[in-house]
Symmetry: C2
């Protein structure tokens, strides 16, 4: 008999993951080339083509590469990452600001373990990656959701300000955003920081800004993602190499804490302990050494940009209400009927696997993960056309 | 400001890990060859010498090896592991019984997330791996400790029986045992199962037997570790390749649930969801493919056996009360004074890094992790001699 919490969780198990499994079954039934699976953020771009060579080189030149290290990771890896961020964002970090972790999911969990007391509130802006609710619940926190702010999907700062109270411990933002592709600009981050600073003072307590940034490098048209570390002292970044290096299965990422964070040493010690006692122990050792070589590697955006442009243009021509995303690899159009779940179920009849917006706390929309092959995009276009015709 | 729970955890942070860090500092000060660091279970035996070749081969022959897969892991890896266990233990498992996980630490956490409701009790026998307390506490469970049963350190079945009550949800055993090296024999497992079956009936509820088995293959003198799956229906094994393949930094292991377990399908679904929502997501993908090739690889025990024999003989000659361990790579002698922490502090004066038994819930003893180089063992012998002289 599984625990009460798990009964609910298993029953409401991830819509996205369920679709991933359904997609595999449909591919068996109809042939993979006839199923247009836009359900999962599994990068289709190949990892860097020097990766195999580098891994083999690391293995041949590093004795005891597979052993334990400090729970926060190899110092050299952490220092390399810190210096890379310093160069890009004009900051002053060193290895002590960095804790290597098991992907951004692992990173968010060690941050939340570090800061949350039971019943503490964590604020997110809809639409949001649905796992945040589970991560916060792992530590008996409460997720407070600010309603979506279409059509821009930028954070509603007024609603944010009035949502903060004495129980607010943190806010999680995700920029570039899954599922909207929105990138928070300087003004937005400054606005968030301004409110947070005022509220910290009002309630005489620390409120942490956590930025989940697995899509940091996945941006188009020369957009740059501003660093929250420049805007707000009590800020963390959770980063993953899943998307930039196309290594989602390897579970490698890091957490950075701002040098100006209050009680920084204690926070870093707690992240280290959290890594250990949550059972991660440390980020996988070989891939720590791998990412050390790729901190400044250019990210190949060609496929994603081309997919985005083709899909966006086609969907606009079909009359969808939709933003052209600045980053990530998702489109988030308005559903043709208010019931987004029913809409996505209908889409399956056209072999289109789409994720309802309600999975992200935002009804009436749906997500297209366009990190797929160009042929999937091209071949799917007529299905989208037929889907629209079906609703006319 | 870190959470209240974390304040305690950081303050009382792992004695073993602290020693690991202290050892590195001492090595810098006195030279690595003059410090005898017996504090951490970091295997000194090299990984299999074909490992590099195999990793490079896997990388060259598997497209999308680094992608997401089902949260429970690659089916082929899971099936290979199931069939290997079937061969060795005459069982009837398949891939559905297996969930790949981030080391045994990750495995224990997903099991406990799956079964524990707040205030449920989990029983362990002292001495025990101190992380169990933290793992159980992650899910608001309560650890109930059965006092140590020296000199054999086999479980005290009478004390066990009277410790079980209506709140008992699980028992964690660890065989071969860290820190005693004891292997639970058929009679012991049958005894545990008999009591558990009776108590399940008495309290009309499931009680799970969880066996933490990272040292399963580290056994000497033709000892075989019996499988708990043959003795008790509601049983899990948490396994790690950290010790058998010397890959502790890579975080690769699995959980097996007994085919006869009640609600098996629901349990396996919950393990899958727990892997996801605790932030592990999946076991590292490349190393899933690596261990698939090594399920039946012989484990090189020569170094450990030789270290054990040399240290055991020397310590006996010095008058230590000590068992010759059947498995794992630890010796657990009686301390020369009742205060084991003071004893280990004195040992540092002789450059011996030993872990007090109280770190395992067993005062008056200390642990020697002999998974070190032969020269460390040989060169340490005079330090042990001097340590004993110091206390005479």
């Amino acid at each position: 008999m599984i625990s009460k919490k798990m009964q609910e969780l298993v029953a409401g198990s991830s819509v996205i993951r369920a679709m991933f499994e359904e997609g595999k079954l449909m591919a068996q039934k109809y042939g993979a080339e006839n199923v247009f699976d836009f359900s999962l953020g599994n990068p289709n771009t190949a990892p860097p083509n020097t990766l195999i060579e580098d891994i083999c080189d690391i293995l041949k030149n590093n004795q005891s590469i597979h052993g334990y290290m400090n729970n926060s990771g190899y110092e050299q890896t952490r220092e390399t990452i810190a210096q890379s961020i310093n160069c890009k964002d004009g900051l002053n970090l060193n290895f002590k600001n960095v804790c290597m972790c098991v992907g951004a999911a692992g990173g968010l969990n060690i941050i939340l373990k570090t800061i949350l007391n039971p019943l503490d509130e964590v604020i997110v802006f809809a639409p949001f990656f649905s796992e945040y609710k589970n991560y916060v619940d792992n530590f008996d926190g409460h997720l407070k959701i600010i309603p979506a702010n279409p059509p821009s999907f930028m954070p509603d700062l007024k609603a944010f300000e009035s949502a903060i109270n004495k129980n607010t411990k943190a806010i999680i933002i995700n920029t570039p955003n899954n599922p909207t592709g929105v990138v928070y600009d300087d003004d937005t981050l400054a606005g968030l920081a301004h409110i947070l600073n005022r509220k910290q003072q009002e309630f005489s307590q620390d409120i942490y800004l956590i930025s989940d940034e697995p899509y940091r490098e996945i941006v188009y048209d020369n957009i740059k993602v501003p660093s929250i570390l420049k805007f707000y002292d009590n800020s963390f970044i959770a980063y993953s190499y899943s998307k930039s290096l196309s290594l989602p299965g390897e579970r490698i990422g890091y957490v950075v804490a701002n040098s100006a964070m209050k009680d920084l040493d204690e926070i870093m010690s707690a992240l280290n302990v959290a890594n250990r006692i949550l059972g991660f122990v440390n980020a996988p050792s070989l891939f720590q050494k791998v990412v050390e070589r790729y901190v400044d590697a250019p990210v190949n955006l060609d496929l994603y940009k081309s997919n985005r442009d083709i899909l966006y243009k086609h969907l606009v021509s079909l009359g969808f209400e939709i933003n052209n995303p600045d980053g990530a690899f998702y489109l988030f159009p308005k559903s043709l009927i208010s019931d987004d779940v029913a809409f996505c179920n209908e889409a399956k009849k056209f072999n289109l696997l789409l994720v309802p917006g309600s999975a992200f706390g935002c009804k009436g929309y749906f997500r297209i993960a366009y990190c797929v092959s160009p042929s999937t995009v091209i071949n799917s276009l007529s299905s989208f056309t037929n889907l629209v015709a079906h609703f006319k």
